[in-house]
């Protein structure tokens, strides 16, 4: 086997980035804005306990918030105050009505609709009562006899 020793293989040309100058005072941003690492360094120099105190407060607040989030009550919807107020509204509308049962049809953003089943002279009928919550109390804003 013969080799053509006089021919050199083609050389792949590789783009070479210019070498950056060594980091030093001249490498700092011209505006004088400290980089994040130098900022931390300077804060550490200014107040040695400042960073750890801030981190401590943050951690404590996050823990408290997390604990409260987990501990938040997630009980059933507040049906009773709504139906009680709806029952009162029906009795006011029709003093002869006897409330047989009541429930909440809809409840959203401080307003609700309750279904109140009533007996009037042995006949059964029902009312739909719309209510609104203000100052922690439910108040009727409208009442209509259900179909």
């Amino acid at each position: 086997m013969s080799h053509d020793v006089g021919t050199t293989p083609p050389v792949r040309r590789v783009a070479v980035r210019p070498i950056a100058p060594p980091a030093g005072p001249a490498a700092s941003p011209p505006t004088g804005t400290p980089t994040s690492s130098s900022l931390l360094e300077r804060l550490r120099l200014l107040h040695p306990g400042l960073l750890s105190a801030a981190a401590g407060v943050t951690l404590a607040a996050v823990l408290v918030a997390g604990w409260q989030l987990l501990d938040r009550p997630d009980g059933p919807s507040p049906v009773e105050p709504i139906t009680a107020a709806a029952g009162d509204a029906v009795r006011l509308e029709d003093p002869g009505a006897e409330v047989v049962d009541a429930g909440v049809v809809r409840w959203e953003d401080g307003s609700a609709t309750a279904l109140v089943l009533v007996a009037v002279d042995d006949a059964r009928t029902s009312f739909l009562v719309t209510l609104r919550e203000s100052d922690g109390r439910w108040r009727s804003t409208g009442i209509e006899r259900a179909r």
Partner: protein, 160 residues
């Protein structure tokens, strides 16, 4: 000593302020959602569909209706209700060739606890039979639904 720059002061105070705001939001904010819980909404939707199905039956295809009633109920009530429906069919439904079709007009949540939810509903039922004119009547029921797997099934039904 040099005064900290605005950026330096911001880096320290921002997380503290954010944390305090977060803590206050959770502490002073509403203690619960301002609408029905998802399971309560699901139970109400389920009650609307299941009660109408259970209270719709015909002399024509009673076995299917009994199966439907059974699939919508649970516990000891399932057998009780199926048996009651079968008795009604034997006693009067077949003889008068009657059919009852029910629709839920309103359904409302009465209460919820760990074992289930209680609802009241108002239904409109249309009755057709061979010997009478079709008639429509409204009636009210109180029902209890129990969670079984991903379903809410009727575990008791009382006519009010």
């Amino acid at each position: 000593m040099r005064r900290p720059t605005r950026l330096e002061a911001g880096v320290v105070t921002a997380p503290v302020v954010a944390s305090v705001v977060a803590a206050l939001t959770f502490t002073l904010g509403p203690v619960r959602g301002e609408t029905f819980r998802a399971d309560e909404t699901a139970a109400l939707d389920s009650a609307r569909a299941r009660l109408a199905s259970m209270l719709t039956f015909s002399y024509r295809d009673l076995e299917t209706d009994l199966m439907v009633a059974s699939s919508n109920a649970t516990g000891t009530f399932r057998d009780e209700y199926t048996e009651r429906l079968r008795k009604l069919a034997t006693d009067s439904l077949k003889a008068s060739k009657a059919s009852v079709s029910s629709r839920v007009e309103n359904v409302a949540l009465v209460g919820a606890d760990a074992s289930g939810v209680t609802v009241v509903a108002e239904l409109r039922a249309r009755t057709e039979s061979e010997d009478r004119e079709p008639a429509t009547q409204t009636f009210q029921v109180r029902a209890r639904l129990q969670g079984e797997g991903s379903q809410w099934l009727v575990s008791s039904l009382t006519l009010l």
